[in-house]
């Protein structure tokens, strides 16, 4: 059944795209988290007493036991760098002008990891286990977005 292509120029493709975009509202817990971040400059998490877990960012329910949760714990602003990567290429593979570091941070008081940029700490190489601290944008520039956080800045010292 597979026909041999005798004229490769005839192999044809039809171009297309999906012309939709999406608008995501952050939901019940998300609204509380982003409002507190914007207005108070604080990071809120949710404690499940049954599972002895603190989720950050805040959630409206515990995925382990299904208990209803509220944004009742302030976490950070310090934390521990649990892992990191340094990215040299953009999504399309083109080289970045400057490499960018991304880290997973266990904020003080939280059990879950938080993804964000790791800010330039000079020439010191990053180390798993080192202490970092959240850096926020100035209050006047905050809009209620994950980008109200500039990133995590290594502050020296280690938890491990």
């Amino acid at each position: 059944v597979i026909e041999k292509t005798s004229r490769p120029g005839d192999v044809r493709r039809w171009p297309g795209r999906i012309p939709v975009r999406h608008r995501y509202t952050p939901g019940r817990a998300g609204e509380v988290f982003f409002t507190a971040l914007r207005d108070g400059g604080v990071l809120l998490g949710s404690r499940c007493t049954r599972c002895d877990m603190v989720y950050a960012p805040a959630r409206s329910f515990c995925e382990r036991c299904f208990a209803e949760l509220s944004a009742d714990v302030e976490v950070g602003p310090g934390g521990e760098l649990a892992s990191f990567t340094v990215v040299f290429a953009a999504v399309d593979g083109s080289p970045l002008d400057r490499p960018v570091a991304y880290g997973l941070v266990r904020l003080d008081g939280a059990d879950t990891l938080f993804l964000h940029r790791v800010l330039d700490a000079g020439d010191e190489p990053l180390e798993i286990g080192e202490r970092v601290e959240v850096v926020l944008r100035p209050e006047a520039e905050r809009t209620g977005s994950i980008l109200d956080i500039e990133g995590f800045l290594p502050v020296g010292g280690s938890t491990g």
Binding site: W14, G16, H22, T25, P26, F34, T35, F66, G144
Partner: protein, 603 residues
């Protein structure tokens, strides 16, 4: 070894146009409602069966995994199934085989849909269902396929649009008694439906179910376990599903044979030999009003073309001989796609337990059927559910207790007054017996202003473009178009000439045999006059999409009609291709500019 499986609990959120809750939060609200209704916790759940319709609604790929925490899937065997609009009822089938097989004793079934994220209009998600190369260049939208099917169904059977409109009226009135409903309306009339804006003739605004966000969940359990959870399990007596060909232009649009096949499979398993006697209520899929009727015929509950007069005569009303969509259906409660399908199983559960409150069908019904439909007008999913009494009736071979109208209805002390409540019941009221679904605070509707202004909201567009290989058969077909020819493939197994051509016959599952030059003329199988684009912006002048059966073949093509006044177009009209000039052809379905009436036809 097959085990019997029962539904033991159900829950749902409100269906709203835009929910404040995320998809995960909606799923969790429905799931904990279902667990709470039968006093179970997540620890009691062995497996999670999850469903949600196209990823394109959310722009979240791996949507099943994304939703899994809200569905209770953490640390459990959890899988999302998907068959388009048929998904919600299929989730019940998935739960049945998960438990019947012995893999799980108790399963949580969750269906979630959040359509409000899609901008500018959720219909954009459906642009991807049409054939990439042969149909998408024509810019078809979802309304086309409903309008085309509805027109043919109406024309072949000589149906009155008024009779079809009674379905929209019935369902919106029924939904006035549903605490979760988006479009319940106790005083709507047929005139309101017939006076609503024409979207794609014969489809008008009020023939169509609303875009919605929402979630529904069930708990199912194996025989032996179910009876310990509740004294009134509702048994899943039979399940069936069936797919028709992906070439929807090659299909019988008048009768949904795939639904009939799914129904026969489910009835056979349930021991239902005379569905018109043994089925006491139905929740057929009703995204459009005519679909409910089309599906009732597919479910073998009415003769072909006879469901509309049953609607007109009140047979389908809540107190009629065959109550249909007593919930209010998709037209009234709302259509968060996958969730709306599972809502039909939840409604059977509540109705068969006598817990449907203001919506309760009289006469203590013992067996019902729920059905959904989806993909490209292609899949039928069917579930038959019954009480312990229904099972004994079937086992005795007596054809069960008979239609509910023959059974004197004892007054139900738990039933609510028949007028709709002015306010949704409070969370506290939801725990009292006889009020279902258990409605908590979940499903808070956002206004347009709140939606646009929500703190933390993010806009995102998937920046992906595609290049679809046209393939072997269609590549040759497109070369034919460039030369002004329409080509088919013959199958000597079934004797058909296939248009669009394919290198294999999906019926005989063998290679097709030869290229055949067929005519460039054909017959209008069905058509619509479409006044709106996919994003619901007005089209002026309107477009006239049609399915054209091609002379000399057994197939057909989707295309547009031109050089004709839309009011002169008729089903059965002879048409011919109008070609682009030779130098302007590119090897595309658009090398045919449109089809027009042959001389002597139409105007």
């Amino acid at each position: 070894v097959k085990r019997r499986v029962a539904v033991v609990g159900a829950g749902m959120t409100r269906f709203v146009r835009r929910a404040q809750e995320t998809g995960k939060e909606l799923a969790w609200e429905a799931a904990r409602g279902a667990l709470g209704s039968c006093a179970l916790t997540l620890e009691d759940i062995d497996a999670v069966c999850l469903t949600s319709a196209p990823d394109a609604f959310d722009g979240v790929h791996m949507k099943g995994e994304y939703l899994s925490d809200g569905a209770g899937g953490w640390g459990k065997p959890c899988i999302r199934t998907y068959v388009g609009g048929g998904s919600g009822v299929f989730a019940g089938i998935q739960a049945w085989y998960t438990v019947a097989s012995g893999m799980a004793d108790v399963a949580l079934v969750v269906a979630e849909e959040k359509m409000s994220s899609t901008q500018p209009h959720p219909q954009g998600a459906f642009l991807t269902i049409f054939d990439n190369v042969l149909e998408r260049p024509l810019e078809p939208n979802l309304l086309w396929i409903f309008a085309l099917e509805m027109n043919r169904y109406m024309t072949v059977h000589g149906l009155d649009k008024r009779d079809i409109a009674t379905v929209a009226v019935k369902n919106k009135r029924n939904a006035a008694g549903h605490p979760s409903a988006l479009l319940g309306q106790a005083d709507i009339t047929v005139e309101d439906v017939l006076a609503s804006e024409t979207l794609a003739w014969p489809v008008q605004r009020l023939d169509v179910s609303p875009i919605s966000d929402g979630a529904v969940a069930l708990v199912v359990a194996a025989e032996g376990v179910a009876e310990r959870i509740t004294d009134r399990p509702v048994w899943i007596e039979g399940v069936g599903w069936n797919l028709d060909t992906a070439y929807w232009t090659n299909r019988d649009l008048v009768f949904p044979e795939y639904v009939a096949n799914a129904a026969r499979m489910a009835y056979d398993m349930a021991g239902v030999t005379e569905p018109r006697k043994q089925i006491h209520l139905a929740e057929p899929y009703d995204p459009f009003d005519y679909k409910e009727l089309h599906h009732l015929e597919g479910l073998l509950l009415f003769d072909k073309g006879k469901a509309p007069e049953a609607a007109r005569d009140g047979v389908l009303n809540r107190d009629g001989d065959l109550p249909s969509c007593p919930s209010g259906g998709l037209l009234g409660v709302g259509n968060p796609i996958a969730a709306a399908g599972l809502m039909k199983l939840a409604e059977l559960f509540w109705q068969l337990r006598g817990e449907a409150g203001a919506r309760q069908v009289p006469g203590s019904p013992e067996r019902g059927v729920a059905q959904a439909w989806g993909d490209l007008m292609q899949v039928g999913t069917v579930v038959v559910m019954g009480t312990e009494g229904a099972r004994r009736g079937t086992a005795a071979g007596s054809g069960s207790a008979g239609p509910p109208h023959l059974t004197p209805a004892p007054p139900d002390p738990a039933a609510l007054p028949s007028e709709p409540p002015s306010d949704p019941p409070s969370a506290a009221a939801s725990t009292s017996h006889g009020v279902t679904p258990p409605v908590g605070p979940a499903g808070r509707a956002l206004t347009e202003e709140e939606f646009r202004g929500a703190v933390g909201a993010v806009e995102h567009a998937v920046d992906a473009r595609y290049e679809w290989d046209v393939g072997v058969a269609v590549g040759r077909f497109l070369e034919g178009l460039r030369a002004g020819r329409i080509l088919g493939r013959s199958c000597s197994g079934c004797g058909r000439v296939l248009v669009p051509p394919r290198m294999f016959c999906e019926r005989c599952f063998r290679a097709t045999d030869a290229w055949v030059r067929v005519e460039t003329t054909g017959t209008v199988e069905t058509f619509s006059v479409c006044h709106v684009a996919w994003d619901m912006q007005p089209l002026d002048p309107p477009q006239v999409p049609a399915v054209i059966s091609i002379d000399g073949s057994d197939g057909g093509l989707l295309h547009l009609l031109g050089d004709v006044d839309p009011s002169d177009v008729r089903i059965g009209m002879a048409v011919e291709a109008v070609w682009r000039r030779v130098g302007e052809r590119t090897g595309s379905i658009l090398d045919i500019e449109h089809f027009r009436p042959r001389r002597g036809e139409g105007a």
